[in-house]
């Protein structure tokens, strides 16, 4: 009887079981608190926007890969996460075609043109967001008031997102916003960015599961806080307090989810530290002196561009000997 042959392959013959699908499932789980926060404050509209983005992102990826006769990688879930993330940074009031346009741009221009997941130099979510933000700013900058589904009273202190208030009404007004509202998300804004608590839950889950590494989020937050603190110390009447800057708007979401997209951030420890600090500082710089209300999307995109440079900072290899003549 001829016995079946043996399988031959190079070592190692064992794998940790970590897969791209698994990473994406973790990302999706980590974004669930944000989605719930969106539903809690803004109702089903927020969920509708997120779902529409997810569906259009998945369809865009599948159609593109089919058309190019490339293997269809929809099953790895990267398009789902990209769509979900985009849905969470769009205002719950945007019309459906904006969601579709944003997702298709994110997937095709932001990712597929470069070769697919992990090969894109710029965060594909922010490429899609940047495109629709620059093209249709008036649609993207209309935000609903929060109406918590139960428990909390609607946060009625401001009618616009805190960053818009800071830009338009100045520093006096934002002093009245309670920090608990900022932390819980009881302010106008988008589903993913209002609630620091929700982002923090997801972010800690991602770090605990080792899907993302801690230096980027930690140093991004630290960079933003320190830079804002320095400004605040120089002139408290002109620059908002650092804690307000960090709690309000996109800082937490950028630190944990946008700046850490695989392929767009450095992989070595010193690179990650500089990248995180750079993201944090740029967010505050653009917020304070730029024309945009929210500095995070473009801060992260700019730092994505510097990633190849930061990746050249290498750890010292073990066992390197100085050649002696």
């Amino acid at each position: 009887m001829k016995r079946p042959g043996l399988i031959v392959s190079p070592s190692p013959h064992w794998h940790s079981g970590r897969t791209v699908q698994g990473m994406m499932v973790d990302f999706a789980i980590a974004l669930l608190p944000c989605l719930l926060a969106g539903w809690y404050y803004f109702g089903w509209n927020a969920v509708r926007v997120a779902l529409l983005c997810v569906v259009s992102a998945v369809v865009a990826e599948a159609v593109w890969q089919k058309a190019l006769k490339r293997p269809v990688t929809v099953s790895d879930g990267s398009a789902v996460v990209a769509g979900l993330l985009l849905g969470l940074i769009l205002s719950p009031e945007v019309p459906g075609w904006i969601c579709v346009l944003g997702s298709v741009t994110a997937i095709l221009v932001g990712r597929q043109l470069f070769g697919g997941f992990g090969s894109n130099p710029f965060s594909c979510v922010l490429v899609g967001y940047g495109f629709i933000f620059i093209s249709y700013p008036h649609i993207l900058q209309s935000f609903p008031m929060p109406h918590p589904a139960f428990g909390l009273e609607p946060g009625g202190y401001i009618e616009y997102p805190p960053m818009d208030i800071l830009k338009m009404d100045g520093i006096q007004v934002i002093r009245d916003i309670p920090w608990t509202d900022l932390f819980l998300g009881n302010v106008p804004g988008t589903a993913g960015t209002v609630s620091v608590l929700a982002v923090l839950l997801g972010g800690i889950y991602l770090i605990a599961r080792r899907v993302i590494r801690w230096p980027i989020p930690v140093f991004c937050l630290a960079g933003a806080w320190i830079f804002a603190a320095v400004c605040h110390l120089i002139d408290p009447s002109l620059y908002a307090s650092p804690t307000f800057h960090v709690l309000a708007g996109w800082v937490f979401l950028s630190a944990f989810f946008l700046a850490t997209e695989p392929g767009t951030c450095p992989v070595t420890f010193p690179g990650m530290v500089l990248y995180g600090l750079g993201c944090g500082c740029l967010i505050i710089i653009i917020r304070t002196w730029g024309t945009y209300m929210e500095g995070a999307p473009f801060a992260v995109l700019l730092m994505n561009g510097i990633t190849p440079l930061l990746d050249r900072i290498r750890p010292r290899v073990i066992g390197r000997v100085q050649e002696s003549a």
């Binding site: 399988i7 070592s11 190692p12 013959h13 940790s16 791209v20 590494r213 290899v317």
Partner: protein, 440 residues
């Protein structure tokens, strides 16, 4: 030195059972080709040899002799597949009965030069690859120069620390802890000779902290002046360059990977066991320890077999899996997948049998640049970049990024979410560079 802690499933129970002695197999293969080149056969087909008889000899007398691990008749010399996937000429021996293990009069006295020569003639084979054979590797400069005429670097370096490595190499392996648990008295016997040979000021026995050997063994080793250190066995801490750095804090220069360059010598505890046994009653180092494991069926067996026993009879005795999909010699992370069940084992080793649903398959998708491989690399390389450079044929760029420093521990491939064949890419790059050097 900080190693990345990965949840490597400990597939082995804490203290292993004593190893079983298997009856002699039908055939024993003694490969003449090996890491040191080809030895000349000293026997002819049809000849009957005693256990311990010399069957192969290298032209260079500093290399270990090849000996028959059992008494038997020489069937012939033919080509066999070795466990590391090479073809080798091998002496085929048909053992006659289950004779006593080969022995000869143990070397008398502790004159290092005579001892070193006697050990070379005894023919020690080792599990790990080393730049030089045991015992030349562990000799003090004076002995190396007198016994082996080795005076150049790294042999002019005195040995400061001699490490007896009792850490199992990989998760699931328990060969070395078996030696310490059941055969440790021989290791004690080896200490005096190791000290005489190496003139090391410090002898360290490293063992797995989670499975420490008996207190009596540690006491008698300490009485001999051995520094016993329990380390946390985080893979790859048992691999020579990493171990040397953990114990002494010195970095082993790469790519030479010779700890002698920093005044350290490392020997495997299985070699120390064979050495102690040889010095006690003259038993030649021709018996090896083989572990057979199947994680799916929770099977862990240890056998003492003559060196040169093919896989087939060992697997049959263990009854590991009737129809294995993959047989790996050397363990899950470092081993070689076998295609020939007649491949002979010449040194103590770990055989892992995998069933079809356990087999890990690689994926040839592009690198997703997640960077998970970077924090786990014990040599602090950037495996993601090395993999890409080797994949796209940019071998010189890869070399400039210390491709040759890779010790092929396999952790980058273990954690890779894209399931890229990192070790294969890196080996491919190393091979291409060697070929290019040969051409130029």
């Amino acid at each position: 030195m900080k190693l990345a802690k990965i949840a490597l499933i400990a597939a082995s129970p804490g203290s292993p059972p004593p190893p079983d002695v298997l009856p002699h197999p039908e055939k024993i293969f003694i490969p003449l080709d090996g890491p040191w080149g080809r030895a000349e056969a000293q026997v002819a087909p049809g000849q009957t040899v005693e256990a311990g008889a010399v069957v192969g000899r290298f032209q260079d007398p500093r290399l270990p002799m090849l000996r028959a691990s059992a008494a038997g008749s020489v069937e012939g010399i033919r080509t066999v597949n070795t466990p590391d996937g090479q073809k080798a000429q091998a002496v085929v021996l048909q053992p006659l009965g289950d004779g006593a293990p080969a022995s000869q009069a143990p070397p008398q006295g502790a004159a290092p030069v005579a001892l070193a020569k006697a050990l070379t003639e005894a023919g020690f084979a080792e599990t790990d690859r080393h730049p030089w054979p045991f015992p030349a590797r562990i000799c003090s400069p004076e002995t190396a120069s007198e016994a082996f005429q080795l005076t150049d670097a790294p042999f002019h370096n005195p040995i400061e620390t001699l490490i007896i490595n009792g850490l199992d190499r990989q998760p699931g392996e328990m060969v070395r802890r078996t030696v310490l648990g059941h055969l440790g008295s021989f290791v004690v016997q080896a200490v005096a000779a190791l000290k005489a040979l190496s003139q090391a000021s410090r002898v360290v026995l490293v063992y797995d902290r989670s499975a420490p050997p008996g207190g009596e063994l540690l006491r008698s080793l300490q009485e001999q002046g051995v520094d016993c250190r329990g380390l946390e066995n985080v893979y790859p801490s048992a691999l020579t360059p990493v171990l040397v750095q953990l114990v002494t804090g010195k970095q082993v220069p790469q790519p030479a990977s010779d700890p002698r360059l920093v005044g350290v010598a490392v020997i495997d505890v299985t070699t120390a066991w064979q050495l102690g046994r040889f010095l006690t009653d003259g038993t030649l180092p021709l018996e090896i320890l083989v572990q057979v494991s199947s994680w799916k069926s929770g099977l862990h067996r240890l056998y003492r077999v003559p060196a040169g026993t093919p896989l087939e009879p060992i697997l049959a005795a263990a009854n590991a899996a009737p129809q294995p999909a993959k047989i790996v010699v050397g363990g899950p992370l470092l081993g070689y997948a076998q295609f020939d069940r007649q491949a002979p084992l010449v040194a103590s080793d770990f055989v892992l049998v995998q069933q079809p649903d356990e087999v890990h398959t690689y994926n040839y998708r592009a690198c997703i640049n997640c960077g998970h491989c970077v924090p786990v690399c014990p040599m602090k390389l950037l495996p993601n970049e090395l993999g890409k450079l080797c994949e796209y044929g940019r071998f010189h760029d890869a070399e400039a990024q210390y491709l040759a420093h890779c010790i092929e521990c396999g952790l980058c491939a273990f954690v890779c979410p894209a399931k890229r064949p990192m070790v294969q890419l890196i080996r491919h790059g190393k091979r291409e560079i060697l070929e290019m050097r040969k051409e130029s």
